[in-house]
Subunit: 162 residues, 2 copies
C-alpha cells in the first residue's frame, strides 16, 4: 500500500536523511546519503562543510554527475527489525545546481539556506552550511512513489523522527 | 577518510539494510531499500514475501530494470545527529537475476538463501524468503568506495548494529 498523502508531505519536511540516486560517468548508478530541507517547492541539499570523499580543490563528484545528467531521486525510508513497520518514499525529478556567491542575494536560495539551518542545528554547532562558493542542489520533484507494509507502518512513518 | 578494510568487510556481512541504486526505464536513477546477505563473493537480495509496491502477477520492477541494465550499487550508511559519527560505504558492480525452481538444486543459490535465513530471523517468523519462483538478485562487487567523518565514525561503524 502507498503512504497517505499527508504523511508523504510531512516526511518530505522533517525526515532527517535521504539517499540521493544519480547517474555517474558512463551512466552507472550511484547513491549517496544527504541531508535536505524542503523550501519553495523543491528539496534542497547543500554542499556543506562536512569533509567530502575524494576532497581536494575539486568540486564534489555529485555536481559533476548532475551536470552530465540532472535526473535524480531521493529515497526516504526507515529500517526496522519489525518488518510490518517498514515504509519507503521516493521523490523523483530533476536536480539543478544553484551557486550564489552572496546567498542573501537570491530570495529562493536564501529561503532554502534558512530551511536547512532551521532543520539542522548542526549548522550552528561547528559544521559550515557551505564550503567555497555557496552551492545547493535543488530537486524539483515530478512524482513521488511510496510503499508501506501495513497501516501500522504508515502510522509509524507519520509519527517517527528517524 | 575511507573506512578501514576490515570494517568494510564486516559491514558487508552484518549491516541490516542497504539502498540499492539502479537505472529504471529510460535510464533514470531509482533507489530502493533492500535486505541482503553476503555469500560466495556476492551480495544477495531476495524477491521475498514482503508485500511489494505495485504488486500483482507481474515481476517486481527491480527485475525488469536489471534486465535492461545490470549495473547497480548498494549503499550502506547510518545517519546520526552527531555528524562526527557519519560514514557510508558504496559497493558497485553488476547484478544478476538468479531463478531456481528448486533452491537446493544449485549450491551457490542454496548458500545465498542460507546466509539470508541466518542473517534475518524474520524469515522464520512469518515472512517467506521467496514468493513465486525463488529469485535472488546477486551483486558482484567490482569496487567499494567509502567515507567516514572521523576515526570515531570508523569505530562506530565497526561496532554498531544499525
Amino acid at each position: 500500500m502507498e503512504l497517505p498523502e499527508p504523511v508523504i508531505a510531512s516526511l518530505l519536511e522533517r525526515w532527517p536523511v535521504g539517499r540521493l540516486g544519480l547517474r555517474a560517468g558512463g551512466g552507472r548508478p550511484v547513491v549517496l546519503p544527504v541531508v535536505f530541507a524542503a523550501a519553495g517547492g523543491r528539496l534542497w541539499s547543500p554542499v556543506d562543510g562536512k569533509p567530502k570523499a575524494g576532497a581536494g580543490g575539486d568540486e564534489p563528484a555529485r555536481l559533476r554527475w548532475l551536470r552530465h545528467d540532472p535526473r535524480a531521486c531521493l529515497l526516504l525510508d526507515h529500517y526496522a527489525e519489525d518488518w510490518s513497520l517498514l515504509w519507503w518514499l521516493r521523490a523523483e525529478g530533476e536536480a539543478g545546481i544553484h551557486r550564489e556567491p552572496d546567498p542573501e542575494a537570491s530570495a529562493p536560495f536564501a529561503a532554502a539556506a534558512a530551511a536547512l539551518r532551521r532543520k539542522y542545528p548542526q549548522y550552528a554547532q561547528g559544521t559550515p552550511l557551505f564550503q567555497g562558493t555557496p552551492t545547493l542542489v535543488g530537486l524539483a520533484v515530478e512524482r513521488t512513489v511510496s510503499w508501506c507494509a501495513s497501516a501500522a507502518a504508515a502510522r509509524h512513518a507519520a509519527g517517527g523522527a528517524g
